[in-house]
């Protein structure tokens, strides 16, 4: 990349920003052919950096390195297919690329225009090369993720080249803070963290406060298991979040912000810090931004592994350096938040919506989505779907489309059972409701919530009682203990669910669970407790018969609940002794080349024998 520091730095006005934008898009590098290699967390873990090095080496060997540039992008989406890449000139999508494929890609495709067939994506019987023809991509609406996969997140020039910071420039030169708030209000944008509170209204409250010190916070404590949208945005397009925060700060009149990022996301922290440093250097953050007289600065605070800190008041207490325990509301943060000053807290995805919303106007934004829920929503699609990863669709898109069109259906060949949406605060959507539009109200009516956007698809092999138990264990462990209903209620609910999964349940336990659900929901202090019973309630609502089977018949139909399952060795056993060797409790008996048997009294049901057997001679039921 060209040395931007020599161009103009810091940028002192809107017109200088425009001039810089023009310089970048006129540059040779911007116009050159590109190879986009995913450098999202998933693909890096799959080895995409080695692939990048191999491609770079091949390009150099072919003396193409000044004609073709490699862009290390944010998450391209289909994480399970990683490492993935896109050849810019014809938009070919390659998956599961290994360093040894680099030679063929460069020689055959880059130089010779012949696609490397074995690396392209299969759709049914066919193989589809072009990204825009692949169902996973074709059925998405990438507004918030517009840059993710196109730009290098560590280069501010890339962001500026796609119109980055133009919204900030527009706000600072043409709009009053009231106008910004009203534009966001008109757009109908609702908080993407889960609760769906209208962002414009929240900003409006804080902007009216006369206090000279106000704070704007970004919640990147993405704790819901199964959710990685915020991580991907921060890693893939950090400047969009930063720009959204600066605009928010201008709207409410704040000069200091914090972003609270989970400690589990070191790469997100690293890339956001780079974004902050660059923005400061370019005069887009700090004093007198773009020569407008507006001052704003920002600091990263890392979480330390407490789920409850995703709750807004707990997050603020944590920034203050204390135990992250929530405090009662009112007073609401817009009045008394961080260090008792008026504070606005929004989620990563919410802020990332702002720049485009400002550029295109609130009315334009409101054209996407449903009556009450506008815009797009990013989901982290995972579980037993063929193509899992990061997807963005218009709010109101039916769940079926997400699972079957974009996700390609169930990966295991089994039947769809449920989708768990909204994490520990959410619920399960069974097959009969697959056509539910994904918007706040429709999901609430089914006992689930939009949540932050984690969406785990489960096939028939998942036990719904165990799923409820799993989430209850999670919230019980993460309950901060401040209020009794959550601390004691979730513990008691977990006891009962464990009892049922262990085969000791009684019918009266179900009544007790229902009763406790009401208490915990109504009496808990914060969102963690208030929504903790949701996973139980929704699984009980749609899969009551499974609960009854566990209690009455002492049977888990999916063979997940350990105490209720048995292992058996079938006639197919050839006496290879592999299972006998791995069994930690010596419960398997039998001589070499003789069919083995399992002593069920000794068996601890660890399943090691089953995973070791190469002859499918062991079953569990």
């Amino acid at each position: 990349m060209m040395d931007l520091n020599k161009l103009m730095c810091p940028i002192k006005s809107s017109s200088e920003l425009l001039a810089l934008h023009q310089t970048i898009i006129d540059s040779k590098e911007f116009k050159s052919d590109k190879i986009y290699i995913c450098a999202g967390g998933g693909c890096i873990a799959s080895g995409s950096m080695k692939v990048k090095d191999a491609i770079a080496a091949q390009l150099e060997q072919a003396q193409l390195n000044d004609k073709i540039s490699i862009v290390e992008t944010g998450c391209l989406g289909p994480c399970a297919l990683g490492p993935v890449m896109i050849i810019g000139k014809d938009e070919t999508f390659y998956q599961n690329v290994k360093p040894k494929d680099a030679h063929e890609i460069v020689e055959q495709h880059i130089k010779g225009d012949t696609i490397v067939e074995r690396l392209i994506h299969p759709v049914g019987e066919k193989k589809v090369a072009k990204r825009s023809d692949i169902p996973f991509f074709k059925n998405q609406k990438k507004d918030v993720l517009r840059n993710c996969g196109k730009i290098n997140p560590t280069k501010i020039a890339d962001y500026i080249s796609f119109g980055g910071y133009q919204a900030l420039s527009k706000v600072l030169t043409e709009m009053t803070s009231e106008k910004v708030v009203s534009e966001v209000t008109i757009s109908g944008l609702r908080g993407r963290g889960g609760a769906g509170f209208p962002t414009g209204v929240k900003w409006g409250y804080a902007s009216k406060s006369k206090d000279p010190i106000k704070y704007i916070l970004c919640n990147a404590d993405e704790g819901d298991p199964g959710a990685f949208m915020d991580r991907s945005i921060l890693e893939g397009d950090p400047h969009s979040v930063l720009e959204g925060m600066i605009i928010g700060a201008y709207a409410i009149g704040s000069s200091q912000g914090y972003i609270y990022v989970r400690a589990e996301y070191p790469l997100a922290v690293e890339r956001f810090q780079i974004a902050i440093d660059q923005a400061r250097e370019f005069g887009l953050l700090g004093e007198n931004i773009l020569g407008s007289g507006f001052n704003f600065d920002l600091e990263i605070r890392k979480g330390s592994g407490a789920f409850v800190c995703g709750e807004e008041t707990a997050l603020m207490v944590s920034i203050e350096g204390k135990r992250g325990e929530p405090r009662p509301r009112p007073p609401f943060p817009a009045e008394k938040g961080l260090w008792n000053k008026p504070t606005v807290l929004n989620n990563v995805e919410t802020f990332s919506n702002i720049p485009q919303l400002i550029l295109e106007g609130g009315e334009h934004y409101a054209k996407t989505g449903t009556d009450k829920s506008k815009g797009t929503k990013i989901f982290a699609l995972a579980g037993t779907v063929k193509v899992s990863g990061l997807v963005e669709v218009a709010v109101g898109t039916p769940l079926r489309e997400l699972v079957f069109d974009i996700g390609g259906g169930i990966s295991t060949g089994k039947k769809y059972k449920a989708a768990q949406i909204g994490g520990p605060s959410g619920g399960c959507i069974p097959e009969q409701h697959l056509d539910v539009p994904l918007d706040y109200e429709s999901l609430n009516s089914l006992g689930a919530i939009m949540g932050s956007g984690g969406l785990i698809v489960m096939d028939e092999s998942s036990c719904m009682v165990d799923v409820a138990r799993f989430f209850m264990e999670f919230v019980q462990e993460e309950s901060c203990g401040k209020c009794t209903p959550c601390r004691e209620g979730t513990a008691r609910m977990l006891d009962l669910l464990n009892k049922i999964c262990d085969g000791n349940g009684e019918m009266s336990d179900l009544d007790e669970l229902e009763k406790l659900s009401g208490t915990v929901k109504n009496a808990s202090l914060c969102g963690l407790g208030q929504t903790a019973p949701n996973p139980f309630q929704s699984t009980f609502r749609y899969f009551k018969e499974e609960y009854i089977e566990h209690i009455r018949d002492k049977k888990c139909r999916t063979a997940v609940c350990k105490s209720l399952i048995k292992f058996e060795i079938l006639d197919a056993c050839n006496g290879c002794q592999s299972c006998k060797k791995v069994c930690p409790v010596e419960a398997i008996l039998g001589d070499k080349k003789q069919q083995h048997i399992i002593n069920t009294d000794l068996c601890i049901r660890c399943g090691l024998c089953l995973s070791t057997c190469k002859f499918d001679a062991i079953i569990k039921y």
């Binding site: 967390g41 998933g42 873990a45 799959s46 289909p78 994480c79 399970a80 990683g82 993405e222 704790g223 819901d224 298991p225 199964g226 959710a227 990685f228 991580r231 400690a263 589990e264 070191p266 605070r301 890392k302 979480g303 330390s304 592994g305 407490a306 789920f307 944590s318 920034i319 203050e320 350096g321 204390k322 135990r323 992250g324 325990e325 260090w339 982290a380 995972a382 579980g383 037993t384 899992s388 990863g389 768990q420 994490g423 984690g454 785990i456 489960m458 998942s462 799923v467 799993f470 989430f471 999670f474 993460e478 901060c480 791995v582 930690p584 660890c606 399943g607 090691l608 995973s611 070791t612």
Partner: protein, 176 residues
């Protein structure tokens, strides 16, 4: 969490580290809400939070010992006990859980002969669980320090451990 700069298993000179810690704490003196960033730095410096570090933090930041202790025990990333050279964290997020993370955890416990939260007698491995690392498309995953192992099967656990134990390499290929 980042890899500890110094591991707690050897004979690192903790007194030398205390001096470095003092500098770090002093640099945070003017920062509002400094306690947690300081504790994070301590954890990363020592691999855990030793008692003498707590005393030092209390002295320089003028925070009561009780509130520092309260903060340490609240957050799961802070440990009052030294950890092994390799911190193995099994993701127990939803996607990993429904794809068999529990079996992986059981296999690890059997292989290492320790329970969750414990360290092997040779101070090489500490076993812990994690709450979603945000790599759900690769489930089930485990993290060994900063190395991600994806699509882990319980039958592959022995091999992963063996590789660390014998060769202590930086990354280990796991068959998907």
């Amino acid at each position: 969490m980042s890899t500890p700069e110094k591991c707690a298993c050897g004979n690192d000179d903790e007194d030398g580290l205390i001096e470095r810690l003092e500098e770090i704490i002093s640099s945070y003196k003017e920062t509002p809400g400094a306690l947690i960033p300081v504790l994070q730095a301590t954890q990363s410096l020592f691999g855990y939070i030793p008692q003498k570090a707590i005393l030092k933090i209390s002295e320089i930041l003028n925070e009561p010992l009780s509130s520092i202790f309260g903060v340490i025990t609240f957050y799961s990333f802070f440990s009052l006990k030294p950890r092994g050279k390799y911190l193995i964290r099994v993701c127990m997020g939803t996607a990993c859980y429904v794809q068999g993370a529990n079996e992986v955890l059981t296999a690890l416990q059997q292989q290492l002969e320790i329970k969750v939260g414990e360290t092997t007698p040779d101070k090489l491995f500490t076993l812990d669980i994690g709450r979603c690392f945000g790599a759900c498309g690769l489930a089930p995953i485990i993290m060994v320090n900063d190395d991600v192992h994806q699509f882990v099967k319980s039958s592959a656990v022995a091999k992963i451990i063996k590789n660390y134990r014998l060769h202590e390499p930086k990354t280990v290929e796991v068959q998907s």
